[in-house]
């Protein structure tokens, strides 16, 4: 490289750089204040942090590197071209930073600039960091707080959404994508969070809906509040659109940091391993007594899950939706694992439409990102009835079956009690390439419960009770499965943690591939 040295006296006093530098500083300062102090105060008054405050809290101190701070919107209609309508950086802050030292790409929509609405420039900024994230292999976290499309820009804005959607889809399964909804997110905008791996919400201050209450009223004549239509409670309990809700911005961002620790950076990364103080061979005596003697009596699957995990720490996904299945992230001997468990406490732990879909999506995420899955089985079967059949339980139940079957990550299964019928097959059984399948002494692997089975096998027979006892003796125990090798071992429940930790170590180098295909065809 050749460097040309020029004499400074050839330039006006103060140097040529002076005016642009002032402009740079001015623009930079403007970018940092977003929509200005008044709007920032209004944002605070709503109980919300600004886009930049959120990033500051989410990322390690001084780790944020901003990108496109000087980008401005290009709209020249409706007076938008006026200087006072231009904000450096427009309505989104983008860049990369670190969470506990690990790289992450972020965008944070700025509600103080045009209500965080999406312009062509806004979309372009988001797309830029998403492209980079995929190239370097780092997760993308989006902090959503946007009124929707920038109406002044018309189709440009719509194009922007689609550009983002495309990247969401391309990044899916390549890097983890997380959306945290921290304000409104309506109309087309909702599909970006919907395409990401996890959607979290902030209670009372965030909303997700296709159309707001006014449009709902005019179209269907329904009266509904914003909160009821698309608040955190609705989406974490009724619709299953969001995976968890947090108390407020601070709570949500701190939890997001914690959640991030569980994730690998990309599909090329192994599941992260952290320092573990909980002894890997710790016996869990409480597990020996947790399963009640009567097979109709419920117990809390979370008691088993907590007992087995490192430090009883469990980041549950969708804790309030389809509660008959429990899914979430945890660690075993420091290594991230995905937990799937039937919950006997809710609807006997049966599989229905919602729980199947919830389970399936979680299993697929884990498989995409090399996170081993531990499945705790106590399932009486699929839920019968017209509501389920009409709703397509066959199609939806197949999703969970499909997800477990195609998964090539380490799969460890523990049958704690019931594993009945087709649901037994579905729940990470040996037949679906389960690597290690255990049964507790209380396990019953059978086509169905004793009562139902006896009514079919011994139809019309006088002594049903005797027949039932015979059936129980034959099938309501782990032996039929164990003698066929469908479970690898019958283990003492208190040793479950020790066994799983050991298996995970062995399976860490597991390699398994599915046949080449353009993509598989999961029954959607």
């Amino acid at each position: 490289m050749v460097i040309f040295l020029t004499k400074t006296h050839q330039f006006p006093k103060g140097g040529l750089c002076s005016p642009p530098r002032e402009r740079i500083e001015k623009k930079r300062k403007a970018a940092l204040t977003g929509g200005g102090q008044l709007r920032i105060a209004a944002q605070h008054k709503r109980g919300k942090l600004t886009a930049r405050e959120r990033l500051e809290l989410l990322l390690d101190p001084d780790s944020f590197v901003e990108c496109d701070m000087f980008v401005e919107h290009r709209c020249s209609d409706f007076g938008m071209e006026a200087d006072h309508n231009k904000y450096p950086g427009d309505s989104v802050v983008t860049g990369q930073g670190r969470i506990n030292g690990r790289l992450v790409y972020v965008f944070s929509q700025d509600f103080t600039v045009f209500g965080g609405s999406l312009s062509g420039a806004h979309a372009q900024k988001v797309c830029k960091i998403m492209d980079q994230a995929m190239m370097v292999g780092a997760p993308v976290i989006g902090l959503n707080d946007s009124g929707g499309a920038r109406i002044q820009e018309g189709v440009e804005s719509l194009a922007g959404y689609a550009d983002i959607f495309l990247r969401n889809v391309m990044a899916s399964g390549v890097v983890p994508q997380i959306s945290l909804i921290m304000g409104p997110c309506a109309g087309g905008a909702v599909y970006s969070p919907a395409l990401t791996d996890f959607t979290f919400m902030v209670k009372d201050t965030s909303y997700l809906f296709i159309t707001g209450p006014d449009v709902v009223k005019s179209v269907t004549n329904e009266d509904v509040t914003q909160e009821e239509l698309g608040g955190a409670k609705t989406h974490t309990t009724v619709s299953g659109v969001a995976h968890r809700a947090f108390e407020n911005d601070v709570d949500a961002l701190l939890n997001l940091r914690d959640f991030f620790n569980f994730l690998p950076l990309s599909n090329k990364d192994p599941a992260p391993v952290t320092e573990c103080h909980d002894p890997r061979d710790r016996p869990v005596p409480g597990l020996d007594t947790i399963v009640p003697f009567e097979s109709t009596k419920a117990y809390d699957m979370l008691d088993i899950v907590h007992g087995v995990l490192d430090e009883r720490e469990f980041f549950e996904i969708m804790p309030n939706y389809a509660k008959n299945i429990v899914v979430g992230f945890a660690r075993m001997n420091g290594r991230t694992v995905g937990i799937v468990g039937n919950q006997p406490k809710v609807a006997s732990g049966c599989l229905d439409i919602n729980s199947s879909v919830k389970g399936a999506r979680f299993v697929r995420f884990c498989d995409a990102f090399n996170i081993p899955i531990i499945t705790f089985v106590d399932v009486p079967g699929f839920l019968p009835g017209t509501a389920q059949e009409y709703g397509g339980i066959i199609r939806h139940g197949a999703k969970l079956l499909y997800a477990f079957a195609e998964a090539t990550i380490p799969k460890i299964t523990v049958i704690t009690r019931k594993a009945y019928g087709g649901a037994y097959d579905v729940m990470s059984s040996k037949h679906l390439r389960g690597d290690v399948n255990y049964a507790w002494p209380s396990a019953e692997v059978a086509v169905m419960g004793a009562k139902g089975a006896v009514q079919i096998i011994f139809r019309g027979k006088e002594n049903q009770a005797e027949a039932e006892a015979e059936y129980v003796e034959k099938f309501a125990n782990p032996f039929p499965a164990a003698v066929r090798g469908f479970v690898d071992d019958i283990i003492q429940p208190s040793t479950t943690r020790k066994r799983i930790c050991r298996d995970l170590e062995v399976l860490a180098s597991k390699k398994q591939t599915n046949p080449w295909k353009k993509h598989a065809n999961i029954p959607l």
Binding site: H44, R46, G47, K48, L49, E53, E56, L57, P61, N100, G101, R102, D204, T205, F246, E247, N248, D249, V250, D251, L254, N255, R257, D258, F259, N261, P272, T274, E275, C276, H277, D278, P279, P285, G286, L287, D288, T289, I290, V291, P292, F293, E294, D300, D303, H306, G307, D310, E311, R312, S442
Partner: protein, 644 residues
Amino acid sequence: RTISTSSCLELIRAGPRGRHVVAAIPPAAPSSNPPVHVKVADEAVCVGPAPTSKSYLNMDAIMNAIKQTGAQAVHPGYGFLSENKEFAKRLAAEGVTFIGPDTHAIQAMGDKIESKLIAKAAKVNTIPGFDGVVKDAKEAVKIAGEIGYPVMIKASAGGGGKGMRIAWNDEETSDMGFFLSGHISDICANGFCWCLQVLADKHGNALWLNERECSIQRRNQKVVEEAPSTFLDPDTRRAMGEQAVSLANAVKYSSAGTVEFLVDSKKNFYFLEMNTRLQVEHPITECITGLDLVQQMIRIAKGYKLQHKQSDIPINGWAVESRVYAEDPYKSFGLPSIGRLSQYQEPLDLPNVRVDSGIQEGSDISIYYDPMISKLVTYGKTREEALKKMEDALDNYVIRGVTHNIPLLREIIVHPRFVSGVISTKFLPEVYPDGFKGHMLTAGERRELLATAAALYVAAQLRSQKFLGDLSRQWELCVELDKSVHMLGVSRSGNNYTVEIDGEKVEVSGEWNLASALLPITINGKHRTLQCLLRTAAGEISLQYLGTSFKLRVLSKLAASLSKHMPEKVPEDTSSILRSPMPGSVVAVSVKPGDNVAEGQEICVIEAMKMQNSMTAAKTAKVKSVHCKAGDTVGEGDLLVELE
């Protein structure tokens, strides 16, 4: 073969002596989930479903169990059938030994009136008062007026604290209409409750094994007991002991028994009642005398003579017992709670600590039995030593999954009044007139707590940063405790954390990690054991410190400063909803939707663990909806009734 209907303790001790022990269990404890006493026993029989009326209190079931197992003796434990003369009779008819006194003594002492007459005849001091059956509430008020308030009214049959009520005025006396066949006596407003342990064989020999101080009570049930008493001098002790023995002789008592005395501040003592069974708190007597009472009972039942003379009975050192209950001490000094013991660790690694319990990690505390988790007994050469040991034992006791009363126990044993020995039956209401509120932190303790929370937070943050090469060394934290916020500076080297609080430096060190249930730490050179009950990503940390659990929030300086923008959540308006304060069953519902209720009016009655609780309206309003009916089982926090 011996059948035991009690918890595991007696079995543990009877078993190793070569006896074949059978445990009686209800199927609330099925074989896949056996209680500890079943594991200790050689054999177990099921005596019926969970409600005690259908199992341990069901004589037929127990008689069947005896036949089934061919048992030669029954140890009845503390409650249940231990003082039931019918049961003793039926056993006698079958030729089965009842490990306890004979029917005559049970009958005589079981009747409050007869027992007082016998006591009088045996020259035992009895309380001035009316000994007889009261006709109705009016008569009760009249008699009470003659004796002078406060008075104690007792149902003539009923043991322990059951059926015993104190009335302070006419209104309260007449309210006790259901105790009509009762007995009224004067009580010392600030009395002591002392229990004299006696041991008598079938050959007319009897011993007194010193007293137990059992004055610390809530709802007439003992909470902390000790032996010997600080208040009793040798002469009074001897006088009481001799009277107790003469009473035992008068009823031809055999086996272990307890004579309860009420004592006033002038050391006048009065016979209250005799418990014809082993008492829950007997371990403290065993500690100071060296005698194994269960073994003695079995020997006596077999007809052996006592091995000891009165002069052989020593007072060696001091023993304290804390009754660890699954209950919430912040509600009326203890409302029952239920749950599953997710983590459970007894402080048995400490010397001179004895824990008698019937549960283990994973056990369920259900509404069907007494909510007692264990009897925690500590022993020392002096009272001070025994109490210090109790502090350590309580700090090192890990109980998770149910609310427990360790905060209260830990406070009682260090309270200056208790330490000085000024103990009375009104200790709790006098010391905590506004209810128990947990440990009140001194400035120094506050610093210790803050520093520990900060150290924990930093340790957790540092572990998360293990991905990083360079770890932070300095931390500026904001710690919130009881609504006040402290700025802390933390630096760490190795296992040592230096925490700066308001200009003062606190050094926190020790061998602990984030997974351990106990945090044995050294704070400024002082050894403390804390427990971390909760630690969340959002900085919430709950620590059990000096018995009480404290909620803290640790945030980085940045997070704390941004928190000021967070909206305040509006708490649920609780005046118009009535929730169950504890798990239990609904006994009665006195309102229906549309009724108008006045503030304080009874709405429904909840019963749990032998205790009835009247639920009242918090305001005057119309009943909007009723969500329970008599006979329902409700959980803590369940919605009972909504007002408009």
